[in-house]
């Protein structure tokens, strides 16, 4: 066994080796004195914890040794117990007599010894690029209440770029205005005040409510969609599909629906009042549309039942109706999953905010020709980024990841299933 220098006083960290009472090759019994040490508190003799032969001495006399360091190795005797020696009349504890040997099979455990050695770290902080809400350096000159800071992060607004009245704090309205790109015209004076109403008011309330109700997690996936783009091209050229508005968005919608079919739990609602989770067996697929009146999210009823052609037709109608400002109210409610086609605005990715009451939203970024590694070769491919936010109360990381991966897999390799129900 290896004998570690114990803490012989409350919290000592080291001791000086004064005198060894044994040398290599000596036979020792349990409690035979091995060595005399001096600590900050006292001079003490250390008794042997085992019976056997001294195999090695690891600390020289005069050296200072940290608590927990191996100071001597003892080759343990498996022999018969050694007969006890007579007890002296006035024994000293340092000169304890030998007694029956008891093989110690394990190295000594130092119990509660000395100042706690800092344990190695086990936790790691989540990398910046994997955070749903980015961590940026703080700008102490920016004065905004915590909820406003949160809102800015959710909406991707850089607070340092938000214009507000000099000396005043940034308000919710300032951030929302910055998010919608509303002009802060200087034509009439230094500011223009635009009443908050209509679609902007509704959508602002919706995103704010969602942002503060559902704990959002966003996941990202970069996908090679070359084959999807090829299929889009093929169908567009196919006479059988003439008149159908085939776009990459239709394929993304189709892939999302198929993924939801494979992982139906993604399609759910958190009913706070009833304290129930409502699993939906249908999909009303929302499509976020930028309209002159603001952001609108009409949905395609029962999209789960549609084949690619029907889906493409419905999607075309939906967007056109929205742009014409003719979306009926019923198409604005009851959505279950949503897609936002931010790629149409020329950007790659974002952290979409859930449509209130829904469990997932998929952002579809711009499709770009990018260098891509295929079988060890860099080749140009059509690549896009998908970002999916989900309500973490309903969807755990595994489920969310499965859905997003499935969408990516289908878009990477769209097969015949794409075309049919």
């Amino acid at each position: 066994m290896e004998f570690l220098l114990p803490d012989v006083g409350e919290g000592l960290t080291e001791a000086e080796i004064l005198t060894w009472s044994v040398k290599v090759g000596d036979t020792v019994a349990i409690n035979d004195t091995l060595v005399e040490i001096e600590t900050a508190k006292s001079v003490v003799e250390l008794p042997s914890p085992a019976a056997g032969v001294i195999a090695a001495i690891h600390a020289d006399e005069g050296s200072t040794v940290d608590v927990g360091t191996v100071i001597v190795s003892i080759l343990e005797a498996d022999a018969e117990p050694i007969a006890a020696e007579p007890v002296p009349d006035t024994p000293s504890p340092e000169a304890a007599p030998a007694e029956p040997a008891e093989p110690a099979k394990q190295p000594l455990v130092l119990v509660g010894t000395g100042p706690t050695r800092a344990a190695d770290r086990r936790l790691r902080l989540k990398p910046r690029d994997r955070r749903a809400v980015p961590v940026g350096g703080n700008e102490p000159s920016i004065s905004a209440a915590p909820p406003i800071r949160l809102l800015a992060k959710r909406l991707g607004v850089d607070l340092s770029s938000v214009r507000t009245r000099p000396g005043s704090r940034i308000t919710r309205e300032d951030v929302e205005a910055a998010a919608t790109g509303a002009p802060l015209s200087e034509v009439a004076g230094r500011e223009t005040r635009i009443p908050i109403k209509g679609v902007r008011k509704v959508s602002a309330a919706a995103v704010t409510s969602s942002a503060f109700t559902a704990p959002h997690v966003t996941e990202w996936l970069t996908v090679d969609v070359t084959r999807t783009m090829e299929m889009v091209g093929r169908l567009k050229a196919d006479r059988a599909w003439a008149g159908v508005r085939i776009t990459p968005l239709v394929f993304v919608a189709r892939a999302f629906l198929l993924a939801a079919r494979r992982f139906p739990d993604i399609n759910a609602t958190w009913d706070e009042d009833a304290q129930e989770i409502v699993l939906k067996h249908y999909v009303n697929l929302g499509i976020a549309a930028a309209t002159p009146r603001g952001l609108m999210v009409p949905n395609i009823k029962d999209a789960h039942e549609m084949d690619l052609r029907t889906l493409a037709d419905s999607l075309g109608d939906l967007v056109q109706t929205a742009r014409d400002g003719k979306t009926p109210p019923r198409d604005m409610s009851g959505g279950t999953l949503t897609i936002t086609n931010i790629g149409a605005l020329g950007v790659d990715a974002g952290t979409p905010i859930l449509n209130p009451g829904e469990s997932a939203i998929l952002a579809f970024g711009a499709v770009r020709a990018m260098p891509w590694v295929v079988e060890g070769e860099i080749v140009p491919r059509k690549v896009t980024q998908l970002a999916m936010s989900f309500d973490h109360r309903l969807v755990d990381g595994e489920l969310g990841s499965n859905v997003l991966a499935e969408v990516g897999r289908l878009l990477g390799d769209p097969g015949e299933t794409f075309l049919h129900v």
Partner: protein, 327 residues
């Protein structure tokens, strides 16, 4: 620069204070021939005699009560309480007598008295030898409460404490007594000023005494993960250096207070309240606290799980960084 352990830095600080003023008297249990159970007064009785380094009867209330009497006559007693858990017999003398004499006398009487207390756990001790009771005294108006974390501070802060005309409770972090460090000949700040040990743009850790080293280690770990996490050593608990705390909180927007005491009604709660009020519009997340659980100090075998360590601090930092994602 000379290198000292934290314990021997206090010894040297006391020696300087005793050389500078012959009315400084060191008193306590076993402070004489033995030099105190942690050897902090080692050699002082030999050098200054047994009327200035006094082995007292074993009675903490007596130590503080008689020291008050000495102070009223113009002496400057430095009392050693052997362990944190043994201060309670003196509680009445400290909070009802010592703390109040100045205000009771309408400001005419001063009681310049230092109470040295080895504090905190992490040394594998039996019960009553590992407690962190600074909040009791910080809660008492009339007392100053300070906490050193390294040899240099220990050397200067003990001398500054002796010079104070108010009573000072002086905490010494037991498990850091043997830490070595350089001691400069001149103090670099006032007794009640906090020290910014490291700036951080993402978050700042506030610690005192034994947890300063823990906070520094956590800061290094966070750096490995790509985050800039600062460290402030409070040094003074009462009064708090709110000016420094506000400045660092505003700069980083996130603050985590780390101490060994239980968080409930503790120093961290006070700092959180103070910073929330004064820096509300600069904060990215609420001020979080890392401390011991609200249990009596447990047996040594589980103290590592009880005391805040690097992982507990990192966990709080992560919560702070991701607070906007939590609901």
């Amino acid at each position: 620069m000379t290198t000292f352990t934290l314990g021997s830095a206090i010894t040297e600080g006391l020696r300087k204070a005793m050389e500078a003023d012959d009315r400084v008297i060191v008193m306590g249990e076993d402070v004489g021939a033995l030099g105190g159970v942690f050897r902090v007064t080692d050699g002082l009785q030999k050098d200054f005699g047994d009327s200035r380094v006094v082995d007292t009867p074993l009675a903490e209330s007596g130590i503080i009560g008689t020291a008050i009497g000495l102070a009223l006559r113009g002496y400057r007693p430095v009392c050693e309480i052997q362990f944190d858990g043994f201060v309670y017999p003196a509680f009445d003398q400290i909070v009802s007598q010592l703390a109040k004499i100045r205000s009771r006398s309408a400001g005419s009487l001063s009681v310049p008295l230092v109470i040295r207390i080895p504090v905190g756990g992490g040394i594998g001790a039996v019960e009553h030898h590992s407690e962190s009771n600074e909040a009791y005294f910080a809660h008492t108006a009339g007392l100053r409460v300070v906490s050193c974390s390294n040899p240099n501070d220990a050397f200067h802060m003990i001398q500054q404490a002796v010079l104070s005309d108010d009573p000072v409770v002086f905490y010494e972090p037991k498990r850091r007594y043997w830490d070595r460090g350089e001691v400069s000949p001149v103090a670099d700040r006032q007794l009640h000023q906090a020290a910014i040990l490291k700036e951080g743009s993402d978050c700042v850790l506030v610690a005192h005494g034994p947890t300063v080293a823990t906070a520094l280690a956590a800061s290094v770990a966070a750096e490995e993960d790509g985050y800039s996490v600062g460290v402030v050593d409070l040094r003074s608990i009462s009064p708090l250096d709110t000016e420094t705390l506000r400045a660092v909180a505003a700069r980083s927007g996130r603050m985590v207070v780390v101490h060994e005491a239980s968080t409930f009604m503790g120093i961290g709660a006070e700092i959180a309240a103070e910073i929330t009020e004064s820096c509300f519009f600069e904060l990215e997340a609420p001020v979080l606290r890392v401390g011991a659980y609200n249990l009596p100090y447990p047996p040594a075998s589980v103290e590592d799980a009880f005391l805040p360590d690097v992982d507990r601090v990192l966990h709080a930092v992560e919560r702070s960084l991701s607070f906007s994602e939590e609901r």
